[in-house]
Amino acid sequence: MRQRNRLAIAAVLTCTAALTAGCGGSSTNEPSAALEGRGPITFVAGKDEENVNPKIVEAWNKAHPDEQVRFIELSSSADDQRQQMVQNAQTKSDAFTVLDLDNVWTTEFAANRWISELPREQFGVDKFVPTTVETSLYRDRLYGVPATSDGAMLYFREDLLAKAGVQPPTTWEEMRQACDKVLALPEAAGMSCFAGQYEKYEGLTVNFAEAVHGAGGVVTDPNGKPQVNTPEAKRGLDALVEGFRAGTIPRDAITFKETETRRAFMDGKIVFSRAWPNQYSHAAKNDGSSGVAGKFDVAPLPGVAGPGVSSLGGHSLAISAFAKNKATAVDFIKFATAPEQQRLRLDQGSLAPTLSELYDDPSMQAKYPYLPLLKKSIEGAEPRPRVIKYGEVTDVIQEHVYAALRGEKPSDQALADLQARLQELTGQQ
């Protein structure tokens, strides 16, 4: 019996070895720096709610019968998108040509030579909001063309603030005082002051960075060195910790992602909320789903001594280093980031553009009244840490900040621990 088993295993192993040897001979694509070759390519992006990307691809394909673009739609989960793109790069496959990269991945992809450097002068990036271009650079070289952007705003209950006779706050202190007055109103019974996103996920990194930047600190300095063990960073984190302790931020906000914050705001449970622009159209809906339609407005995020600093969101288009027909890919990126396509994204998908001029367009402003404010938010926004191991960096930020917010660790201890881990991960001692 045992003898037979061993022989069976041996047989299987022989077969497998023979097969893999046969497969191993296939050619792998070596990355080439030259952006040459024309022909069919693919465009890989996550699922967007309004399906704008397929429309852009369709418009391109009509005009370029010999250089067709096939759209590959990934899931809407950012983790899944990154995983698939990394896998494509690790197998050096030419299946993906143009990648729709979240701007926090640019550094990792560029440093690993998974994406090609792009000729900066060809894409007219001077017309873009400068901060969006900054996130597409690695060591001062361009690796992607920003296609969409995102900046946070402070949503507030205009009706309640007017009734309490207070102006929209520009600092955290003013916001607390405004809350004291608003929450004393009988209409505001049972409401809390403020909420952002504090669940343990990417949103926590975003909110933490905003708190630190709003207090005059940095997460990583211009040389990429972590600097979170500073009095400024502590003041920023303490603002959140104190908010939870004093109840300014409701206790259950520790479970909030974007959807939960939005629901709390739309159900009239909070006076102020930190959110991306997409909350605007949801909250403004008149179909009964929102309890605050016509009762809210937006303002810049508050900070310690003046307006705060948003974390920068957004995606850029990059070319996989292992792809074929890169000349076509360059043209497609130019097409997809041109004013007409950016307008289409804004108009139909309410995705923030990267071109400055679109924010000043009167017809767009009529549809999205928050555009001038959003432009300011994005112009003053700070990118999240631009590090090669962003995935691990954001994980350790979440781990330590979450512990501090839940009161499991004093904030200075959390920041000291975080600083040590970040130094390890960025290789800077």
């Binding site: 037979r4 192993l13 077969c15 497998t16 995983q83 690993n112 030579r113 060591r139 520790i254 479970t255």
Partner: protein, 334 residues
């Protein structure tokens, strides 16, 4: 290749086990044919089972390049580290996290499997009774099992939300999805809800093969309901129950999607071994990820082996002998 397959496929019956030379030409031909017929299966098994295991084992002995050159590019290439990844897992800076994950995995497996076995038996007993609407009950019990885990985890996330149904019903303000003991409870409830029907179904199948006359005889002898359950139902349904428990144990030892979706990533109170492996892999650290996966594989294998040895030593034998006794009377009649 042919000779190996041939020897691999010696018929299982007792007579063929003698020395090879005495085998008749017909038997040899039959064996060869059997080998040819079985080889595609072996090939597929080799490709989808053996190869990935060997590849993972190999991968777990390497680490990815971590350095950066003068131009800021990552230095490519894997380095052989021997058992370095395993040493890191057991004694490195992340060791506490690993042992916590082992504890969580074991804790979830023990609690959920015990609860599922109890509930499953109760469900099976109910479904086994003849009553009006039995078909409906049987079908509805299976609904949780039919829902994909990720979807049911989403459902439960809403139920356990801070303003969700559970808090409303209990009148509490518990933050179930935050890190902590409530998160563990939430995972256990959702897991038991989802998989108890599976145990129920397998036990029901076991119940249905118990002849009715055994119960009637017991009743005539004056055994009460509990005695009938403890001395007849349970022993006779034991093989089916053990198979169900074994399956559930192997399944919940690699629990991933439920805590991942219901509670979230990196929550120490619900982090399991699979989640650790995933976390490493998603950060492009395939060596450590493979090490975690290999350790989990060994853990699962040991648990399964121990379970079969201790509790179900005659698990397969019993099933076989039952099948044989069931077949014999049939033959006699024929």
């Amino acid at each position: 290749m042919t000779t190996e397959a041939e020897t691999a496929a010696v018929p299982t019956s007792g007579q063929a086990r003698g020395p090879r030379r005495r085998r008749s030409p017909q038997a040899a031909a039959a064996a060869r044919l059997a080998g040819v017929l079985v080889s595609p299966t072996l090939l597929v098994l080799g490709l989808v089972v053996v190869y990935p295991i060997v590849a993972a084992l190999r991968q777990s002995l390497f680490t990815e390049g971590q350095g950066v050159d003068a131009d800021g590019f990552v230095v490519e290439g894997e380095q052989f580290t021997g058992l370095g990844n395993y040493a890191d897992v057991f004694a490195g800076p992340a060791a506490a996290r690993f042992w916590n994950a082992v504890w969580n995995t074991t804790f979830f497996t023990t609690t959920t499997v015990v609860l599922e076995a109890l509930l499953g038996v109760v469900m099976a007993l109910i479904m086994h009774r003849a009553f009006r609407g039995r078909g409906l009950v049987r079908a509805s019990v299976l609904v949780p099992w039919a829902i994909p885990t990720a979807v049911s985890a989403l459902l439960w996330r809403w139920i356990f939300a801070s303003d969700g149904v559970v808090n409303a019903m209990l009148g509490t303000q518990v933050l179930w999805s935050a890190d902590g003991a409530p998160a563990k409870l939430a995972v256990i409830v959702a897991e038991v809800w989802k998989t108890a029907p599976f145990v129920g179904l397998l036990v029901l199948a076991g119940l249905q093969v118990i002849p009715r006359d055994v119960f009637e005889a017991a009743r005539v002898d004056g055994a009460n309901a509990w005695q009938r359950f403890a001395h007849i139902t349970l022993p006779l349904v034991r093989p089916a129950l053990l198979v169900a428990v074994l399956f559930r144990m192997l399944d919940s030892l690699r629990m991933f999607d439920l805590p991942f979706v219901l509670i979230g990533q990196q929550k120490g109170s619900v982090e399991t071994l699979s989640m650790l492996a995933w976390q490493e892999a998603t950060n492009v650290r395939y060596g450590p990820a493979a090490a975690y996966a290999t350790i989990m594989f060994c853990y699962v294998a040991i648990v399964a082996f121990a379970f079969v040895k201790l509790l179900g030593a005659d698990l397969l034998g019993e099933a076989r002998s039952q099948a044989r006794t069931a077949r014999k009377p049939g033959k006699a009649v024929a």
